[in-house]
């Protein structure tokens, strides 16, 4: 096993709640809500109108510019509106709303056989693939590094370090072949020499499964379990010992990192012509009645999923889209699952943490110890509260990856990562 990166935390994993639940396909909802901006970059532009009939897999909104992504309809049916609809962030965002009709019709792209690197990237773009680990960064952009930075190694990110989430784990067990095929396609696309699938030690069985059927050109690497292992920079550090420079990207050290589910999407888009319109998510937490790993159409409402899985328990206090370290707490449940949604986690009141507004630092130094970016969160938090832009920048506030390790560990229950986010926006505002 490799050495871990420095810093980080060991939150309770809670993976046992859903790790043995096989992936099941959820009955499609009557209606899907597709936000036009569910990826990093420019929102897509609708190319259908209300009352238009669409088929499953049909392109309904086009990418705008290079950093953007296509959106396809996950169901066959009728576009009923293009309007502002509540989203996870609590803000209403422009969304396509499609009502489902029973139909076997489906659109697929032409499968590619022995594709050129360029056509793989082109297909990934067509299929609207974005990072499915949570960041939702358009994958074709990552597959097109600048020429002066050749990528020699592709790392497939099977860390899944967020507590509760078990999608990547299930996929590694159940869809092993597709992961291997997708990983090789990604390697081909960027012309890398090596592919490494990196998995945390708490998923050793998944690592063994992959290793048992991998061709020799794929290495499987086991890493000590630690949060935030799934952070690109820290995964690269742990696997290869390379350190992505400040404000740099993985390609600066010749690496490309792709999430497990993303490479499956790449495989399907290239070899079967299926665009990205559905994904697997974990539904877990002490306050859900039926923990599951389910495949759902993008655009399915959280409320629908929770209802069909038997609802929430009486003491449900918080519903999170994503994992409990970085996910968003929902104020309402009629918001859609998007391409970047990795799970729905419902916490009971005894699990939910309470952060303290008095914001007293006892200088215990634990945040400094756990910060994987080697920052001083206690100081950045205070500077953020005081709005000291210069001091924030001097203390490298922009390097914070917002993993939440500092907040988690703080015995005074300061929500440091939140104070730092505020600090970042103040610094940006002042420096404009």
């Amino acid at each position: 096993m490799r050495k871990a990166f420095k810093g980080g935390i060991h939150p309770p994993e809670y993976k046992e709640i859903s790790k043995d639940c096989q992936i099941t396909v959820l009955e499609a909802p009557e209606r899907v809500v597709l936000p036009l901006s569910q990826h990093v970059g420019n929102p897509a532009k609708p190319i259908v109108n209300p009352k238009d009939k669409v088929v499953k897999g049909q392109l309904v909104a086009e990418a705008q510019g290079f950093v953007s992504a296509n959106i396809h309809s996950p169901v066959s049916g009728t576009v009923i509106a293009i309007t502002k609809h509540p989203s996870a962030s609590g803000i209403r965002v422009e969304s396509l709303i499609i009502e489902r009709e029973e139909s076997d019709e489906e659109f697929r792209y032409e499968p590619l056989e022995n594709p050129e690197p360029r056509s793989i990237v082109e297909r990934v773009f067509q299929a609207g693939i974005v990072g499915l680990g949570g960041a939702a960064f358009p994958t074709h952009v990552k597959l097109s590094p600048p020429e002066e930075y050749p990528v020699d190694t592709v790392i497939i990110n099977g860390a899944e370090c967020e507590p509760y989430l078990t999608v990547d784990y299930r996929l590694m067990i159940e869809n092993t072949d597709e992961i291997i095929a997708g990983a090789l396609l990604v390697k081909e696309a960027v012309g890398a020499r090596r592919v490494i699938i990196a998995i945390e030690s708490n998923k050793e069985d998944a690592a063994k499964k992959i290793a048992s059927i991998s061709p020799s050109e794929i290495e499987v690497v086991l890493l000590p379990t630690k949060y935030p292992q799934g952070s690109e920079k820290h995964l690269i550090k742990a696997v290869l010992g390379r350190e992505v420079p400040q404000q740099g990207l993985p390609f600066h050290v010749g690496v490309l990192v792709q999430n497990i589910q993303t490479v499956i999407a790449v495989k399907r888009a290239v070899q079967e012509g299926i665009p990205l319109y559905e994904r697997v998510i974990t539904v877990s937490g002490q306050a859900v009645n039926n923990p599951s790993n389910i495949k759902v159409p993008v655009g399915t409402l959280v409320s629908y999923i929770i209802d069909i899985l038997g609802g929430l328990k009486e003491d449900a206090k918080k519903v999170i889209l994503g994992g409990p370290m970085t996910g968003i707490a929902l104020g309402r449940l009629d918001v859609p699952v998007t391409k970047g949604t990795s799970g729905i986690v419902a916490l009971s009141s005894d699990i939910v943490s309470r952060y303290d507004e008095s914001d007293t630092c006892i200088r215990c130094g634990r945040c400094v110890e756990v910060c994987p970016m080697f920052l001083q969160p206690y100081l950045l938090g205070t500077l953020g509260r005081l709005g000291r832009a210069d001091a924030l920048i001097e203390n490298n506030v922009y390097d914070c990856i917002e993993c939440g390790s500092c907040s988690f560990i703080c015995p005074s229950k300061r929500n440091l990562v939140q104070l730092i986010r505020v600090g970042k926006s103040i610094a940006r505002e002042v420096k404009k």
């Binding site: 935390i9 939150p11 209606r31 009923i80 509106a81 309007t83 609809h85 509540p86 609590g90 920079k233 992505v244 420079p245 404000q247 740099g248 409402l301 409320s303 209802d307 929430l312 449900a316 918080k318 999170i320 409990p324 370290m325 970085t326 996910g327 707490a329 929902l330 104020g331 309402r332 449940l333 009629d334 986690v345 916490l347 699990i351 939910v352 943490s353 309470r354 008095s358 007293t360 006892i362 200088r363 215990c364 130094g365 400094v368 994987p372 970016m373 080697f374 203390n395 490298n396 390097d399 939440g404 907040s407 988690f408 560990i409 015995p411 005074s412 229950k413 990562v417 939140q418 986010r421």
Partner: protein
């Protein structure tokens, strides 16, 4: 076009919406403070066994003075009370342990009060004080009522019939050649049962027990106590004096384990902690050998407390991805 009605929420319940992360480590400030108190318990119990009611009175009035000061000042300033975080309570206990057991009760009370009022609250409360509050209290009462504070330690040990004061004073006399004794005779006294100094110094063994409790519970890092004690030991040996006597005697062990590891007033990073321990060690050595004060450890730690903000600035960690310096 059909009017689109918003989806009706099927689950009607109040959901908590806050920024991530949504889970946290079970340790709290309160838990940490009371774990430190727990680590002091062996010493406290031993003191009560040795000094009976005197130890109880000194402890009680010190803690009462400290907690009372915290409550009073927060009341006056209309601030929310922080007594329940245990920090004032801990300061009271620590301060008591810097006192000899038979000190008058009002000295304990005033010292505990000053420790919190001037040592902590005057700076803005928990987290903002520059100096170790318990040591501020200790130095305050020492300078105000020295007669009540300096023990006639050597008289009472009565291993040799020479008058003297503290162990450090005895050692000084010995190396000046004015008395003839065997310093190694005192090792055992210091280690197991030393009822002649401050209450915290009653047994080096129990200080070590407290040290291991703090390490096991991951409350403190070993680097400050270790570098501090090692620096004193090595320098003393280099100066041709008995390092074991100098390490075991006086307040060094107690100060190194319980005072030099105070979160608020010592450096954040390990590098800083090592520097702090080293600096305190050099200071303690110099004060013990060359100065005429019985408070080498207290002054050294307070001196390093003042340097802590500077140490923090110069021991900032290298940011991930930054060029190696």
């Amino acid at each position: 076009m059909a009017e689109l009605k918003e989806e009706v929420q099927t689950e009607k319940r109040k959901l908590l919406v806050t920024a991530p992360p949504h889970i946290s480590h079970p340790d709290t400030t309160q838990k940490i403070m009371f774990t430190v108190v727990l680590s002091l318990l062996p010493i406290v119990v031993y003191d009560i066994y040795l000094f009976k009611i005197y130890a109880i009175i000194t402890l009680f009035f010190s803690v009462f003075g400290a907690v009372f000061a915290e409550a009073l000042i927060q009341q006056i300033r209309r601030m929310p009370s922080t007594i329940s975080d245990g920090s004032a309570f801990l300061t009271g206990v620590l301060f008591a342990l810097t006192l000899p057991p038979k000190v008058p009760w009002w000295i304990s009370f005033i010292g505990g009060f000053v420790a919190i009022a001037i040592g902590k609250q005057a700076f803005g409360g928990l987290g903002y004080n520059v100096f170790n509050p318990a040591l501020v209290g200790r130095i305050f009462v020492l300078l105000s009522w020295p007669k009540h504070l300096t023990s006639d330690w050597y008289d009472k040990v009565k291993l040799d019939a020479v008058t003297g004061a503290t162990p450090m004073f005895v050692a000084k006399q010995f190396y000046l050649g004015s008395i003839k004794i065997d310093l190694s005779k005192f090792y055992e006294v210091h280690f197991f049962k030393n009822p002649y100094g401050s209450m915290g110094e009653a047994s080096a063994l129990l200080i070590l027990v407290g040290f291991f409790i703090l390490l096991l519970k991951r409350i403190i890092d070993y680097s400050t106590p270790l570098t501090y004690v090692a620096t004193v030991g090595v320098l003393t040996a280099l100066a041709g004096r008995d390092p074991i006597f100098y390490v075991l005697g006086g307040g060094l062990l107690f100060g190194a384990v319980f005072m030099a590891t105070d979160y608020v007033t010592t450096p954040i990073t390990r590098k800083g902690k090592v520097l702090f321990g080293f600096g305190a060690g050099v200071m303690t050595f110099l004060l013990r050998i060359y100065a005429n004060t019985p408070e080498a450890v207290a002054y050294s730690i307070l001196f390093m407390n003042a340097l802590t903000p500077l140490i923090d600035i110069y021991t900032k960690p290298r940011v991930f991805g930054a060029k190696k310096r």
